[in-house]
Amino acid sequence: MNFGEITLGHYLALSSLLFLIGLAGVILRRSLLIIMMSLELLLNAANLALVAVGRFQGLPDPQVAVFFVITVAAAEVSLGLAILVAIFRIRKTTAADQLASLRF
């Protein structure tokens, strides 16, 4: 099959797909670890859209911005994982539906 040339639409479609998968993961999965991975998917879906638009518009700025996003995301993930470990140590679980103590 020949899908022809890869266009911006393809990238954006892939980005949307990734975003929806991530969204589903965040909302539906119970494990905090999986939820965090899904969050990364969301982030990278956005990154993909950004870099694709930048590439096709011939703009350097979005592509540069993506590097920063990736860097910051790395820091954020390390922080998130540390919190995750701490929660697991205290509560002996990482199931999101059991961590409901903020409720009245």
């Binding site: 965040v26 909302i27 939820i35 999101a96 539906d97 961590l99 409901a100 903020l102 409720r103 009245f104």
Partner: protein
């Protein structure tokens, strides 16, 4: 150097007050010395200023720009014209003598540091009124004088009556000050200046009308409060709860005449309206007689003197209203000396009789306190206007001003009759006859520090009539003389002694009993009934409004609403972070959809 002297005069007492309050309070002897020396320094400075070479003119002093806003300008400065210089010397001189007297009078009082700090504060603020070059700084010092009066009346904090009198003095003065500040604002609005020096040129060509009348009457309200004229006179007799040196300095010689001084300062405004001037003259004329009548039936030596003070200030107010500020200042000066003397002598009597103030419980003091009684007699002669003592000359010049107003002349001369009557009554009851109790039997003269100020003041009371007081006003105003006012007033003043002598010689109880005089025309009762009760019921109404509407309905109501809505919204929270995320995303989708529909995003 001389240009800065007024600032020195002004700030020495303030420095003393502050240093006593913050550093010297535990050391009464040092506090007393510091306060007295500061006052003496001010007195020397005032004398230097008074006799300085610049003669009749206004001494140029540096002024600080202070308030400048939207065309409004008030400097912090000094107006050292002859009027202010004379008044400053008078105030600081009398204050120094009272300082000396107080050293002996309060010898045993443990809190005399506080007394002298408050006295210094008073001297500062009074000199501030005298030297102020504009209405704003005068008003500030005016209020400071009110504060120090409040503090000093209530000096004996353990006496409930003193506290009540202090409160009353402060509150009654507020009423007058309200009118005063309205007058100041009006003067600024109409004349565009609050500086005394600019007033004469600004009022030129100003048409008389309701506005200038209202401003004049507003300013006069300030005088009504501070100088205790009708209907705001009730505080002055009650202020006698304070120590006697305070009654002497504040409530006889200096502070209460601040109102008269202020009227003379704003005279260019007052003179614009004949209505204002006549109101002032008639209030003054009425007030010469009214307290003189009350004093005839009072039994407290200080209260009798307080009522005579009201009457004497009224003479000055009347003179201002009649356009004779020279006579007013003349009488202000002589009155400061002889009334201060009378109060100091009364204080000496009270001190000698172990804090007894009722004249019916004294008696026979002539033999035991000859010096005090002698100076008291001298002061009485001055007060009644008997020649050749000073009071005669100043009263004569005021009577001369009433020459075209027979009504005012009549009122003030009849007041002179009653003044002689109640003064002789007091002397006969308190000083002659047999001692009425042990305290009077063992009465004795005070220490040398009490005698010296009285001696100096007695001398001044004798000769103050010779002072060229008209120089105070730079020769702007001429005093008139009229033979018939002189003779009638003198005859009436002498006639007042006759009934007093016949009624009270060797009297052991009061042969007269006039209840409406004894009860001061029921003015206090009237205020109690009408004003205080109205105010109380209004306060109760306001309290009910506050309790039911503000606190009950608005405050508690809003609390109930907030709490109920919180309870309701709490049920929505499930604590599941994923549900929040889902709701959040749905919200985002909804928002994007809505924006696309609205065409904001394309």
């Amino acid at each position: 150097m001389l240009a800065y002297t007024p600032y020195l005069i002004l700030f020495l007492p303030l420095l003393a007050a502050v240093s006593i309050r913050f550093f010297l309070n535990p050391f009464p002897r040092i506090s007393v010395a510091v306060s007295t020396v500061a006052c003496f320094g001010s007195f020397l400075g005032s004398l230097a200023l008074l006799f300085s070479g610049s003669g009749e003119g206004v001494l140029a002093t540096p002024a600080l720009p202070w308030i400048e806003w939207a065309g409004f300008r008030a400097n912090f400065g000094i107006l050292a014209d002859p009027l202010a210089r004379g008044m400053a010397a008078l105030v600081s001189g009398v204050a120094f003598l009272v300082h000396l007297y107080s050293i002996a009078y309060l010898q045993k009082d443990p809190s005399r540091s506080r007394f002298f700090a408050e006295l210094s504060l008073f001297v500062f603020s009074m000199l501030g009124i005298v030297l102020a070059d504009n209405l704003i700084s005068m008003f500030i010092c005016w209020e400071l004088v009110g504060v120090s009066s409040y503090l000093l009346i209530g000096f004996w904090v353990e006496r409930p009556a003193a506290g009540a009198a202090a409160n009353q003095a402060f509150l009654v003065n507020r009423v007058g000050d309200f009118g005063f500040i309205l007058g100041i604002l009006g003067a600024w609005a109409l004349f565009g200046t609050v500086h005394f020096a600019d007033l004469p040129e600004r009022v030129v060509g100003m048409a008389p009308g309701w506005a200038v009348t209202a401003i004049g009457l507003g300013l006069f309200c300030g005088c009504l409060g501070k100088s205790a004229q009708f209907p705001l006179h009730v505080w002055l007799p009650d202020s006698m709860e304070g120590p006697t040196p305070v009654s002497s300095l504040l409530h006889a010689a200096t502070m209460v005449v601040a109102g008269v001084y202020m009227l003379i300062r704003v005279l260019p405004i007052l003179e614009l309206s004949q209505t204002t001037m006549m109101t002032i003259a008639w209030v003054g004329g009425f007030m010469t007689l009214f307290p003189a009548l009350i004093a005839c039936q009072q039994n407290d030596i200080k209260r009798i003197l307080a009522y005579s003070t009201l009457s004497e200030i009224a003479y000055m107010v009347m003179a201002v209203g009649l356009g004779a500020p020279g006579s007013a200042m003349y009488h202000l000066t002589t009155h400061a000396f002889f009334k201060c003397l009378l109060f100091l002598a009364a204080g000496s009597v009270i001190h000698g009789c172990h804090e007894e103030q009722n004249i019916w419980k004294m008696g026979g003091l002539m033999k035991r306190m000859p010096f005090t009684v002698f100076v008291f007699l001298l002061g009485t002669l001055a007060l009644c206007g008997i020649p050749p003592v000073s009071g005669f000359w100043s009263k004569d010049s005021i009577f001369a001003a009433t020459v075209h107003h027979p009504g005012l002349a009549g009122l003030s001369m009849i007041a002179g009759f009653f003044t002689s009557f109640f003064m002789l009554r007091m002397i006969l009851v308190a000083f002659t006859g047999e001692p009425k109790n042990d305290a009077a039997r063992h009465a004795h003269e005070g220490s040398i520090l009490m005698i010296v100020p009285m001696a100096i003041l007695a001398l001044l009371s004798l000769v103050a009539g010779l002072f060229p007081v008209e120089r105070f006003l730079g020769g702007t105003y001429e005093d008139g003389h009229a033979a018939w006012t002189l003779w009638i007033s003198l005859v009436l003043a002498l006639a007042g002694f006759i009934p007093a002598y016949r009624l009270y010689r060797n009297a052991s109880h009061d042969p007269l009993d006039v209840s409406f005089l004894r009860n001061k025309f029921y003015i206090d009762e009237f205020y109690q009934r009408v004003l205080v009760r109205t105010q109380d019921s209004f306060a109760k109404l306001a309290d009910a409004f506050e309790g039911w509407v503000v606190r009950g309905f608005l405050l508690r109501g809003s609390g109930v609403v907030a709490r109920a809505s919180g309870q309701g919204l709490r049920l929505v929270q499930c604590g599941q972070v994923q549900v929040y995320a889902a709701v959040f995303i749905l919200g985002v989708f909804f928002l994007i959809g809505w924006l696309c529909r609205g065409g904001v995003l394309r």
